[in-house]
């Protein structure tokens, strides 16, 4: 099994290298590159073309792109992602400040999505064909279709402005985490609920369910004791794969709620053309994303031996 997991993770290396190269090349084509902007901030048009040239030389921006990339990569693996052109802080420091807020949000959102999704999906499956089923699935569809930035504003309007239950924006403390986490989790709760329902309905037709029913177990008990466990494999896969979407979701939600997480820092950097910061944030998110996907694949193999053993094809 270790062999299988190792192989899964080795496959991540070319992908990560590819992503970093892609992002590096794309960002190097961005109009209004760093030194020009920095020059403007440092003293406006006072910088002569010669000075600008010297400046670019010092930052290594005149080297061929592959050279720049290799230098960036060797610095990056040593924990140096460059400095922000706005605050001159180390990008690694900026990320270290922002990361906990994003992780906190993502975990809270995911927990909520899985909990609510399992609950709604199971209820819908147990009461299949009734109004409870239809109602649950409509809620799931709405959750899946609602634009998160809008849902965030509506929740703020109702729970912060009208009812005054939660602070509107900012970070720190559980009360500031609730609304962002709900916004983030609701979309995936809808997806997970639909999946859980479909999975349970499918499993209910299997022989082992007939056997369990024949020995006298009631439907709810069969679902709780047997069916749910067998459905979990595909739920784990989807949750793992959805984690990436969730990470993307944090980008938007952090911006709506003004939480200084990675996503907010990234969009700020993008708007200010602070490339080192943007690059650092994008690479970090992509690293987490790729690792989660690999972990999901590995976990899938661990949970379901058929995948691991038949995986040669």
């Amino acid at each position: 099994m270790w062999h299988y997991i190792q192989r899964q993770f080795l496959m991540g290396i070319p992908v990560l290298l590819g992503v970093s190269a892609l992002v590096f090349v794309m960002l190097s084509y961005i109009p209004g590159q760093a030194p020009e902007i920095l020059a403007l901030q440092a003293g406006g048009a006072a910088m002569t073309p010669e000075e600008m040239q010297a400046f670019r030389e010092r930052l290594g921006l005149n080297d061929p792109l592959p050279v720049q990339y290799v230098r960036f990569l060797s610095n990056a693996v040593q924990g140096d992602l460059g400095r922000s052109i706005r605050s001159n802080r180390q990008v690694v420091e900026i990320i270290a400040d922002a990361l906990p807020r994003t992780i906190e949000l993502a975990l809270a959102g995911m927990t909520l999505a899985v909990g609510l999704g399992l609950l709604l999906g199971t209820v819908a499956a147990i009461y299949r064909g009734t109004w409870a089923d239809a109602g649950t699935m409509i809620v799931a569809l709405a959750g899946w279709s609602v634009p998160s930035f809008w849902l965030a504003l509506v929740l703020m309007l109702v729970f912060s402005l009208q009812l005054g239950w939660f602070p509107i924006t900012g970070q720190g403390g559980l009360e500031r985490l609730v609304l962002p986490a709900v916004t983030l989790g609701l979309a995936d709760a809808g997806l997970i609920a639909r999946l859980v329902r479909a999975e349970i309905v499918e499993q209910m037709g299997r022989d082992y369910v007939t056997t369990a029913r024949a020995k006298g177990l009631g439907r709810p008990k069969v679902i709780m004791k047997h069916v749910l466990r067998n459905s979990l494999i595909s739920v784990v896969t989807v949750v793992g794969l959805q984690f990436g979407r969730l990470l993307g979701g944090t980008v938007i939600i952090e911006n709506v709620f003004a939480r200084q997480g990675i996503g907010r820092v990234a969009v700020d950097a993008l708007l200010a053309r602070d490339m080192a910061v943007l690059q650092g944030c994008v690479l970090l998110l992509s690293f987490v994303f790729v690792m989660t996907n690999l972990l999901t694949d590995a976990l899938y193999g661990v949970l379901d031996p058929r995948v691991r053993l038949g995986g040669k094809a």
Binding site: L27, L153, R245, A266, F289
Partner: protein, 300 residues
């Protein structure tokens, strides 16, 4: 001596009653119309298209002209969705915004669907190093959450609606490529493809005439759901200020416009957001119904 076969057969009866031939797609269409969700989704979509096309005839207001005396009015009979801070009728702007959102959805999906299908067909059919290269490329694109990839592409291209379509389109390519590749891998081992190859049919013709028609069903389903997610992502980046720009009646821009006035004028942000949600629900309903109709086992 061999007699022509036809001569030995009994003459056909004068009238043969055969059911009218129906293509699988016509059958699927009927099934969609018979499903409640599919019908509802289709109605929402049709209504939206009609509103988008006939916006100037339906609404007496202009989507852009300022009218300061009517600024920030709550919903009323005159202005069913209220007016914005510049006195423009929000419902009118939502109708015009439907044009933009539908265009963003359709063009992004066209970009993603065409390139993704081409990549998937080629990589799945030829295998070998072609497959290895394309697959690595797909995995690299999949290595970034979709919205983040779209943001980075927008950072390079600059903001603007056209660039939103390109960015959203590119960021959706890997999904299509993966789906089509998977289907092609299965199809190319089937007897009818092997037979075509044995007969000496060219690779191009096998791909276009034999494999492509067989991947259309999942492609249609993914594209319908894809329009929904493209509209969502497009509105999201516009909300963040990286897509369409303020006077444009784009739904995400309109939601952003009311963001700082929630307390005083809740309708500014709420109404355009509802439009996005209804549109996306309609497309998702239609996509789900299409999936059930075309093949209940399909999992896109």
């Amino acid at each position: 001596m061999i007699e022509p076969r036809a001569a030995t057969l009994a003459p056909l009866p004068a009238v043969v009653k055969l059911p009218a031939p129906r293509s699988p797609f016509a059958l699927a269409g009927r099934r969609v119309l018979r499903s409640r969700g599919g019908l509802l989704g289709l109605c929402i979509l049709l209504a939206l298209i009609l509103l988008a096309i006939f916006a100037p005839y339906i609404s007496p207001y202009d989507p852009l002209a300022l009218s300061p005396p009517e600024a920030s009015q709550p919903p009323s009979w005159r202005h069913p969705a209220g007016t914005d801070r510049f006195g423009r009728d929000i419902l009118t702007r939502i109708f015009y915004g439907a044009r933009i959102s539908l265009r963003v959805g359709l063009i992004s999906v066209a970009i993603a669907g065409l390139s993704g299908t081409a990549l998937g067909l080629v990589s799945g059919y030829f295998g070998g190093w072609v497959d290895a290269v394309i697959n690595l490329l797909i995995n690299i694109l999949l290595g970034l959450p979709g919205i983040l990839l779209a943001l980075v592409i927008l950072a390079v291209l600059g903001s603007g609606l056209q660039n939103v379509m390109i960015a959203v389109g590119i960021s959706a390519i890997p999904g299509y490529a993966r789906l089509i590749r998977g289907n092609t891998l299965v199809l190319k081992e089937q007897e009818f493809v092997l037979a075509a190859r044995a007969l000496g049919v060219s690779d191009t013709r096998i791909i276009l005439a034999h494999i492509l028609p067989n991947v259309l069903a999942p492609l249609i389903v993914l594209s319908t759901l894809g329009v929904a997610s493209a509209i969502l992502v497009g509105a999201s980046v516009s909300y963040l200020g990286l897509g369409a720009k303020p006077p444009t009646p784009e739904w995400g821009v309109m939601v952003n416009d009311g963001r700082n006035h929630l307390r005083q004028a809740w309708w500014l942000s709420t109404m355009p957001g509802l439009a996005i949600m209804i549109t996306v629900i309609g497309l998702n309903l239609l996509g789900d119904a299409l999936r059930d109709a075309l093949d209940p086992r399909l999992r896109v």
